[in-house]
């Protein structure tokens, strides 16, 4: 089970990122829990400076941009290997 957090206040890019992460997890047939983090104090624990941010199993993998599905898939695969 992988935990995927999308950090962002609800801007257009945050929603795009969330959709892409869903798409990546589905295409890999992964059991994943999605959490939306909109609280700034909580967001800042991951030390991000620009939104949207993507956190996989408590590790910040990208910030300030919308990565591609291929990139997200690699991060998800890494996280699954590690767990």
């Amino acid at each position: 089970m992988i935990t995927i957090k999308v950090l962002g206040s609800g801007c257009a890019n945050c929603k795009k990122l969330e959709a892409l992460a869903h798409q990546a997890a589905e295409s890999m047939n992964l059991q994943a829990e999605f959490i939306k983090v909109t609280d700034y104090a909580e967001m800042m624990q991951y030390n991000i400076m620009s939104t949207p941010g993507l956190v996989v199993n408590e590790k910040l993998v990208s910030a300030g941009r919308v990565p591609s599905v291929a990139e997200i898939s690699t991060w998800l695969a890494d996280a699954e290997m590690a767990s």
């Binding site: 890019n13 700034y40 941009r65």
Partner: protein, 348 residues
């Protein structure tokens, strides 16, 4: 945009460079045929006389739209490449340990080159404060970042020339530096929301390694995104501007937007506040107004107000700033813009 077919046996990295080179050549050719093409469309294809109002308005429109869109794509591409070298994290470490004064100058300059969107203003603010960067320096950055907007700079360059674009950048920098210093001296730290001071980072981010191919691809993505978002404003703005250019008599606006009308600068600033995010459409109109007697200081003040004083950003910043500081922030910028407007009306 035409898609270029590149033979697939060339390695991916080299293919990216080849595409960049081909696009650059295409860009230069396109930029040079814009003027003759616009004249041909208006005066030959439509058969209008060079003296007719409609002919002039059409030639203006067919020249400015492709010119501005080409400039916009080219400049956004270059600026985006530069910005891949200045992540917010990098900027923060560059600003760390800087005192006020020099720090304000650095903050304002870094505000131009660091990628910024107002939806990220809050995490950025917290990140700066948490790293111990003085409040005044943080504000110099936060003022410069949205005010000196690349779209505005490109449009000013295309429609008014490099002098006005340069003046705009310079006065934006001065406003950011001075307003940041003033806010720093007001010692308003207690008006930052309390939770900001309690944030502590749990994990550290490794700086991402980016290759040149990635930089180019990222820049290409932002060209598509930005031009895709503003092209319609550019077209509509230039259409209205072309109408004014062809039909409104010269000096019609001197009385209300000229130097003689002392109230025109503050009025322009007030008018600019609710007009956020339409900079791309407003600049061509303003450029036409200037031909008809509006003065440069008034026009610059108006544009900076449109771009720098945005209500949505105020709402976002309210999450981290208590009301007195938010008001001080906006009032300082507004006053600085008004002074800049008067200054240019007086000098030029």
């Amino acid at each position: 945009m035409t898609t270029l077919q590149v033979p697939s046996h060339i390695p991916a990295a080299r293919r990216v460079y080849l595409l960049v080179a081909l696009s650059a050549i295409g860009w230069i050719i396109a930029y040079n045929i814009v003027q003759p093409l616009a004249d041909w469309i208006a005066y030959s294809a439509f058969g209008l006389s060079t003296d007719s109002r409609l002919g002039q308005a059409l030639a203006f429109f067919f020249y400015d739209v492709p010119k501005i869109l080409l400039l916009l794509s080219g400049m956004v591409f270059l600026i985006s490449i530069v910005r891949t070298f200045f992540s917010p994290e990098r900027t923060r470490s560059l600003l760390g340990g800087k005192r006020e004064g020099l720090g304000n100058i650095f903050g304002a300059i870094l505000g131009i080159v660091t990628p910024f969107c107002s939806c990220s203003a809050v995490p950025l603010f917290i990140g700066f404060v948490e790293a111990g960067i003085p409040l005044g320096v943080t504000f110099s950055f936060l003022i410069a970042a949205p005010t000196i907007n690349e779209i505005a700079v490109v449009m000013l360059f295309g429609l008014f020339g490099w002098q006005v674009a340069g003046l705009y950048i310079l006065s934006g920098l001065l406003i950011a530096i001075i307003a940041g210093m003033i806010i720093g001296h007001l010692k308003m730290e207690r008006f930052v929301e309390d939770f900001v001071w309690k944030v502590h980072r749990k994990v550290n981010v490794d700086e991402e390694k980016i290759s040149w191919e990635d930089r180019i691809l990222q820049a290409w993505t932002s060209v598509k995104e930005i031009v895709g978002k503003v092209w319609l404003y550019v077209v509509v703005g230039i259409a209205v501007g072309a109408g004014i250019h062809g039909y409104v008599p010269a000096d019609a606006l001197a009385a209300i937007m000229g130097k003689q009308a002392w109230w025109s600068v503050p009025a322009a600033v007030l008018l600019g506040i609710p007009l956020y995010s339409n900079a791309a459409g407003i600049i061509p109109i303003v450029s036409a107004l200037m031909e008809k007697g509006a003065s440069l200081g008034t026009v610059l003040a108006f544009m900076m107000s449109v771009i720098g004083l945005s209500l949505p950003e105020a709402v976002i910043l309210r999450r981290v700033l208590k009301l007195p500081l938010l008001v001080a922030f906006f009032a300082t910028i507004a006053v600085a813009i008004v002074i800049t407007g008067y200054l240019f009306n007086w000098i030029l």
